[in-house]
């Protein structure tokens, strides 16, 4: 029986590229794709070949209360979860004095809290068999980013929670990976650096390739580390 991967943020950017890339892995037979936009999720589905069993879950991860039911639905549909890719992200870069409370709450809810709740629920489904969790942080989480206060600090939280969970779950057979991409040509990057020429920087497909390698069974030593994924130009 093939593996089942759950991917958040699958409607665009790194999430979509990861869904497409993982669909090419012979040992992955099913994918649950989560994102807010049903329309854009359907576009991701169209880019994936017919051999992969894909279910789309249009869902706003800001709704934390509904996440347990969301994961139960996925488990009911596929029977198990072997890989969880937490890729969904939110950014609203502002100076401190222009940062609203709503901005902070939404950023942390999607980037941190939803990730923790999803992991908790997914781990219930992963118990008693080898599985992998991959969390996408950011280089913004490890050095200062003036003007990106909420986003950068939330990504620092992702680095921290991933490190903790890697240790906490070490005995369970569940490996936790963290990658921190540098600037990557995504819609989110467009928000963070609106003047940048996205054609000159790292592409989502390059990050997806790294994710696919980390999720492969042959990889067993890079969990628990914050892996910087930055294209040298």
């Amino acid at each position: 029986m093939g593996k089942v991967a759950v991917i958040t943020g699958a409607s665009q950017g790194i999430g979509r590229a990861t869904a497409i890339r993982l669909s090419q892995e012979p040992d992955i037979s099913g994918m649950a794709l989560i994102a807010r936009s049903a329309e854009r999720l359907a576009e991701t589905r169209e880019a994936i070949g017919p051999d992969t069993d894909v279910e789309l879950y249009p869902y706003d991860l800001a709704d934390l209360e509904g996440i347990p039911q969301l994961v139960r639905s996925i488990r009911a549909r596929f029977g198990t979860i072997d890989a969880l890719c937490n890729i969904a992200g939110y950014a609203e870069p502002k100076a401190l004095l222009d940062t609203t409370t709503e901005n902070v709450v939404r950023t942390y809810t999607i980037n941190v809290m939803a990730m923790i709740v999803l992991i908790r629920e997914a781990v219930r489904a992963m118990q008693h068999h080898p599985a992998k969790i991959l969390n996408v942080a950011s280089t913004a989480g490890i050095t200062s980013r003036p003007g990106w206060l909420a986003y950068a600090s939330s990504k620092a939280a992702v680095v921290s929670l991933s490190s903790t969970l890697a240790d906490e779950l070490a005995g369970s057979g569940i490996k936790v990976y963290t990658i921190s991409p540098g600037r990557c040509a995504t819609d989110l990057r467009r928000v963070l650096a609106p003047e940048e020429d996205l054609s000159t920087i790292m592409q989502p497909e390059e990050v997806a390739e790294v994710i696919a390698r980390l999720l492969d069974d042959s990889e067993s030593i890079l969990d628990g580390q914050n892996i910087i994924v930055r294209k040298q130009v």
Binding site: P93, A95, L96, L97, D98, T139, A140, T143, S144, R145, P146, G147, W148, L149, G182, R183, R190, V191, A193, P194, E195, E196, D197, R230
Partner: protein
């Protein structure tokens, strides 16, 4: 003497397609326009600062003014014009009764308080900043058409200041003639019978026009505030 100021923060229509109007882009974590207004704050002889911006961004600009504590009694937002020239004209209308007007633009965030001070203290009623042109400039399009003597040229910078009555007159004359200018020293020189003093500017006072300018500005700003320059702030 009543001194007012116009801060140009974007016209209307020309920014279609840009994800974020340039005046709101972040430099060192703060919007470009905030860098400008922070320097103006201490210039107490400037009684009123009129910020011209697109109607679609009036609320956002007013929020910035409130959030950053600039005070609505001195800093007033009005709708700009379709062109830069029209925005200045509207700013002049808003400053009716003022004797002198300082003009600056939101996309020159690295202007210093000392430059504003030098401009205000200059004895000439009309003055601008300018720097030498360090490269060769030729006339031409597909082929070289003529030479220019760079020693006779100056790279025009802002801020600038003008006798308000004379500048209004020059703008009225330009409007009657249907003439368009990219900045006010040129317009003033053409239509006002009065000299414009050139003060020595700084190559740090760059205008954020293309994306590369923002990268350079970040490096200059990091140097100014003593931040580590090896830090990949744009990664």
């Amino acid at each position: 003497m009543k001194i007012g100021m116009i801060v140009l923060a974007g016209g209307i229509g020309k920014r279609l397609g840009r994800p974020v109007p340039k005046q709101f882009l972040l430099l060192g974590g703060n919007p470009l326009i905030v860098h400008v207004l922070e320097k103006v704050l201490a210039l107490t002889e400037i009684e009123e600062i009129v910020i011209t911006c697109p109607a679609s961004h009036l609320d956002e600009t007013r929020s910035l003014i409130a959030n950053h504590g600039f005070g609505e009694e001195r800093f007033r937002c009005i709708e700009g014009g379709v062109t830069r020239q029209e925005s200045v004209y509207r700013g002049l209308e808003a400053l009716e009764g003022f004797d002198s007007v300082v003009i600056h633009e939101a996309v020159r965030p690295l202007v210093t308080a000392e430059e504003f001070r030098a401009l205000l203290d200059a004895p000439d009623p009309n003055a601008m900043f300018g720097i030498p042109i360090p490269f060769t400039v030729l006339k031409g399009h597909e082929y070289v058409e003529d030479l220019l003597e760079r020693g006779e040229l100056v790279n025009v910078q802002l801020p600038q200041k003008f006798d308000a009555r004379q500048l209004r007159g020059a703008h009225d004359a330009a409007r009657r003639a249907g003439a368009t200018f990219t900045e006010d020293a040129s317009l003033f020189h053409r239509y006002a019978d009065a000299p414009v003093r050139i003060l020595r500017g700084s190559d740090r006072n760059l205008k954020i026009t293309v994306p590369t300018d923002l990268i350079i500005a970040e490096a200059i700003y990091a140097d100014l505030v003593g931040r580590r320059v090896d830090q990949p702030v744009r990664d």
